[in-house]
């Protein structure tokens, strides 16, 4: 077998084994994305119950809480960046980082100091490579975030927000993450998490479920005090779960196109190897025929 042929065969073999890997990753991502989406749906009742309760309190009591109060002159802005732990997900992390850089620039131009909080190893690497400091980092759960993780992050950012810029905290808090729209579309989104704006979700209460006159136990302030941190937690959990679903969907898509590309390459190299083999045979035949005719001429 000629050198050329061997070369092509070797490449085909290595591409075949790579294809097996990307195919396996595609299938894994495909099966996990279903679970991730189910988890987003499962957390909706919790988020809805909390949103409803917060709206109810807000209707009957003056919502004058540190977490909802706009600061006069924000000087430090927190930036939570939610990326993935691992690559092989196409432009998933790159898109998030790109958007976060834009926001960072925008915030700095408006005279705010940016305090980054990083979620996911990719974001950590991005900051480490640029030798930037981060206020907090969390990683190791990007494709299946637990509620504990959401609790830890939201605890930290709420504490920093309440501390305020004067005490090394922040005055406002933005989250850059990816929103899961459907299997083919995931959008990078920016949410201003704190100070809180209570949104009623997409389901407006109909007339017959107007909020009744609630009794608060022990008092409306106390209830609000307990509810708002939970609201932040629920939002954070939802954002993390959506990011996880998006990451898996992006990975599935990236691995699908890698597998398709490998197939294409295998086809090309098989053709080339066949061609090389045929060329070798033709050459051998012409050598034999040439040799035979030289012998015949010599007679």
């Amino acid at each position: 077998m000629g050198a050329q042929q061997r070369e092509y065969r070797q490449r085909t073999r290595s591409i075949k084994s790579m294809k097996k890997i990307t195919r396996a990753m595609e299938l894994i991502a495909a099966s996990r994305v279903v679970k991730a989406r189910a988890r987003v749906v499962e957390t909706t009742p919790y988020a809805e119950a909390i949103t409803k309760a917060v709206s109810a309190v807000a209707t009957f009591a003056d919502v004058d809480h540190p977490l909802t109060t706009e600061r006069d002159k924000p000087v430090r802005a927190g930036l939570v960046i939610i990326s993935s732990d691992r690559g092989m997900a196409g432009a998933y992390s790159a898109n998030v980082m790109k958007r976060s850089e834009q926001l960072r620039e925008h915030l700095e131009q408006s005279g705010r100091e940016v305090v980054p909080y990083l979620v996911g190893r990719k974001a950590e690497q991005f900051y480490k490579f640029r030798r930037r400091e981060a206020a907090g980092t969390w990683s190791g759960f990007s494709d299946s975030p637990s509620f504990d993780a959401a609790e830890e992050i939201s605890q930290r950012i709420t504490d920093d927000f309440i501390a305020g810029a004067v005490e090394d905290g922040v005055d406002e808090l933005h989250v850059v993450s990816t929103k899961f729209i459907n299997m083919v579309t995931q959008e990078v989104q920016v949410i201003r998490l704190l100070p809180l704006e209570v949104v009623e979700g997409n389901a407006e209460p109909s007339d017959d479920e107007l909020y009744p006159l609630y009794d608060f136990e022990p008092s409306s302030e106390e209830v609000l005090d307990q509810l708002l941190p939970k609201y932040v937690k629920a939002r954070m959990f939802n954002v993390l779960l959506q990011a996880a679903a998006s990451e898996l969907a992006a990975r599935q898509r990236a691995m699908k196109s890698a597998t398709d590309n490998a197939e294409e390459l295998i086809k090309t190299y098989t053709r080339l190897a066949n061609q090389a083999r045929q060329a070798e045979i033709t050459q051998e035949i012409s050598e034999i025929v040439g040799g035979a005719s030289a012998l015949a001429d010599a007679k």
Binding site: R39, E42, T43, P45, Y46, A49, I50, K52, A53, A56, V57, F147, A150, E151, E209, Y211, P212, L213, Y214, D215, F216, E217, P218, E222, V223, Q226, L227, K230, K233, A234, F237
Partner: protein, 93 residues
């Protein structure tokens, strides 16, 4: 006599959903029993047991901190974590 529509919701799932005749929770000011026709309440719960009496049976779950909302005979109990191992015939799992 009407019944209570109860849902017990944890951060990551709905633990129990159904109708009940009585719900007992531990609020920040002490244990609190809810019967049908209770006045609308929004209350803060501390860690403890939630007991739901439904069809002559009692379902028990342990929650960490959470809150409770009651209006028009529908009761929603929300907690971050719910330990529902003792819960009989949990619905919606």
């Amino acid at each position: 006599m009407s019944e209570l529509k109860v849902s017990l919701v944890a951060a990551d799932r709905t633990v129990w959903e159904g109708t009940a005749s009585k719900v007992i929770v531990r609020s920040i000011e002490g244990d609190m029993g809810i019967l049908p026709g209770h006045t609308p309440v929004l209350g803060v719960l501390v860690s403890g047991d939630v007991r739901i009496e439904s069809g002559g049976k009692q379902h028990k779950a342990t929650i960490d901190s959470g809150f409770l909302s009651v209006d028009h005979n529908s009761v929603t109990i929300v907690a971050d974590r719910v330990d529902a191992d003792d819960m009989v015939e949990a619905v919606g799992r």
